[in-house]
């Protein structure tokens, strides 16, 4: 059993070892092993060329990764915190995301880094940026919740021909462990985490664990689906579930407004209207920055109680 953090490192190592086109770049990722130590030891194994430290310049880092991808490399860019991707926003969204459509040349690159709240990181070390990169074309978004998935999905992300944003919830880094295989897991497949008959809870990332805990309280009523990938999205899996349970609750840590739940809700209302026996409910974070103090952060996070209460209400509907 290894932690999610170790699983990510293992995926990077296996990719570096198996494909000499794979290179890593990031701040302090070499000798220092990165702020979270994800890349620890990799520079010793693969050298400074392939595990490259960069200056503090997120836009240049992503731009350089795009250029390197064009000449055939498969760069993996670490953001020290995913929040800092805001400083490289233009390169990712306007360069990487649009190039294949515009002139037929794609960029096979991964931007990865720690996201999410729950560790008192406050407003700039806790963000959940998935909507930001889902509401523009051209970027795949992967968000594992287990060590196994982190390993397998990261390997697929690195080999994927398109730009992938790989989100790693920092709360999970050392808190969950798993038996990690050796195989990539294809992008775009959701995981049914728990079978239930009356209500589908659709979730991803750290929230997937809370959802599973909560679902237990409801015997065989609540089904939990972990999306794992937000783009490409496994619509078939979640539609099948909703058709069966006829009720759906969307649960995530990102803000409610224009969070992933909004998109899922809209798709479900549009395509499964006749299957619905109740309103499509969202449980998500408020539309505010993430507060610092643990009590405030706890009140801010959409926690187990809030989810359980919403499940109860929806089941009773």
């Amino acid at each position: 059993m290894i932690t999610m953090l170790e699983a990510i490192r293992q995926a990077l190592r296996d990719e570096l070892a198996g494909d000499d086109k794979v290179v890593l770049l990031g701040q302090d990722i070499g000798d220092f092993g990165g702020a979270f130590k994800v890349t620890q030891g990799l520079v010793e194994e693969f050298g400074e060329q392939r595990v490259a430290d960069t200056p503090i310049s997120e836009s240049a880092m992503i731009g350089a990764a795009i250029g390197a991808a064009m000449v055939g490399l498969k760069p993996v860019v670490e953001m020290q915190f995913i929040d800092f991707l805001a400083c490289g926003y233009n390169q990712l969204v306007n360069f990487a995301g649009k190039m294949r459509y515009r002139w037929g040349q794609g960029a096979s690159l991964v931007v990865r880094g720690p996201c999410g709240a729950g560790v008192s990181g406050s407003a700039f070390h806790s963000q959940s940026p998935e909507s930001t990169y889902l509401c523009v074309p051209g970027i795949k978004v992967v968000y594992p919740s287990t060590a196994e998935d982190a390993y397998g999905l990261l390997r697929s992300a690195i080999q994927d021909p398109d730009p992938v944003l790989f989100l790693e919830h920092k709360f999970l880094y050392r808190r969950i462990k798993g038996e990690v295989g050796h195989q990539p897991i294809p992008l775009g497949k959701a995981a049914l985490r728990r079978r239930g008959e009356k209500l589908s809870v659709i979730t991803y990332g750290a929230s997937s664990h809370t959802a599973q805990e909560v679902a237990e309280q409801f015997g065989d009523q609540v089904e939990v689906i972990d999306l794992r990938c937000l783009q490409p999205l496994d619509e078939a899996c979640l539609f099948e579930s909703v058709k069966r349970t006829n009720k759906v609750l969307l649960y995530h840590e990102a803000q409610k407004t224009l969070g992933m739940g909004a998109e899922l809700s809209a798709r479900i209302s549009e395509q499964l209207f006749e299957y619905l026996d109740g309103p499509v409910v969202r449980v998500a974070a408020p539309d505010s920055p993430v507060p610092f103090s643990p009590n405030l952060e706890k009140a801010w996070l959409p926690g187990a109680e809030q989810l359980a209460e919403a499940c109860r209400r929806l089941l009773a509907y």
Binding site: P55, G63, G67, A68, A69, V71, F95, R100
Partner: protein
């Protein structure tokens, strides 16, 4: 430059200019979709720098670097059809004007956001070196574009990584309507390079041979593992930002002064006077140019627009 190269340079300069004159005709006939951006008076920079490249080098031309596309093997029709939004254009009508490229030819398509090409070409150079390839990445920036964050981040990264990369700064006095004096507090762009300890030189951008020679030095520097190189080409934008801009804000005397320094006139004169070419030899090239322009203009005119099916409009965002 060999005699053959000189003649070739002459050909590309003329082709660049004739191409834009044809585009202007199309523009007046309302056949150009969107704005028309000219490189009038700056042709020596695109042609001179691109000719200095080795075949394995890569280039990322911007809007005023039509000459670089031509040197790199694109035809006038590629520019015509791009500007006219035809189905036969390199992007099949998906993107505009110089927004095209092809990695097989080592040409990277720009995005509009100024400065963005710099980090990307740093990555091209760096990524090539990692693979043991002898390849330099070259791109351009305007005086205005040097104010962007990407300019700074890109050059800093290039200098730290000693990336084989050449940045050609076209100092054409204006960024849209903004003169350099309102864009920065320095007068020479090379001063920007000091922040990165990147070797830099100023070159007369209207002197093709000087541009070529300086670019060779720059490429040689980058190729030898000593890192990036910065070339400031002094020049003048002889038209508005685009054809719809009458450039009233440009002092007439300034244009006058620079008209006398026209890069093609000067180059032709040197070919005749210094290098012993005959008028016939040049006329022969002019005829080649005229013929190609005519042929390609016709091709572009005959070309259909994209049908405009929904799938054409939407597909191809992801590989799969």
């Amino acid at each position: 430059m060999t005699g053959e190269q000189l003649l070739q340079a002459y050909y590309f300069l003329k082709l660049n200019r004739a191409l834009e004159e044809q585009l202007l005709k199309f523009y007046m006939q309302n056949k150009v979709v969107g704005g028309l951006y000219r490189s009038l008076g700056q042709e020596a920079i695109s042609v001179g720098t691109a000719m200095a490249l080795e075949p394995q080098d890569w280039v990322a031309p911007l809007i005023r670097n039509v000459g670089a596309f031509l040197v790199r093997g694109y035809r006038p029709r590629d520019l015509f059809t791009q500007y006219m939004a035809k189905a036969t254009s390199p992007t099949a009508g998906r993107d505009c004007n110089t927004h095209f490229g092809d990695i097989q030819r080592g040409v990277v398509a720009p995005i509009s956001m100024l400065g963005a090409m710099i980090p990307v070409m740093v990555g091209v150079g760096w990524g090539s070196r990692l693979q043991g390839l002898d390849r330099v990445g070259l791109t351009y920036i305007g005086d205005g574009g040097t104010s962007t964050g990407d300019f700074h981040e890109g050059l800093n990264l290039a200098s730290v990584w000693k990336a084989p990369m050449v940045l050609v700064a076209e100092h054409n006095q204006f960024a849209y309507s903004t003169p350099t004096s309102k864009q920065m507090a320095i007068t020479d762009l090379v001063d920007r390079a000091k922040a990165y300890a990147i070797p830099a030189e100023i070159v007369d951008g209207n002197d093709l041979m000087a541009v070529y020679a300086a670019t060779r030095r720059a490429l040689e520097h980058a190729r030898s593992g000593r890192g990036p190189y910065f070339l400031e080409c002094k020049t003048m934008r002889m038209r508005g930002h685009a054809e719809h801009d009458d450039a009233r804000y440009v002092p007439a005397e300034l244009l006058e002064e620079w008209r006398a320094k026209d890069p093609i006139d000067r180059f032709s004169q040197r070919l005749l006077e210094e290098f012993g070419f005959s008028q016939e030899q040049l006329s022969e090239q002019d005829q080649r140019v005229a013929k190609l322009i005519e042929e390609d203009a016709e091709f572009a005119e005959r070309s259909p627009y994209p049908e405009g099916s929904r799938s054409q409009a939407q597909e191809g965002v992801f590989a799969s």
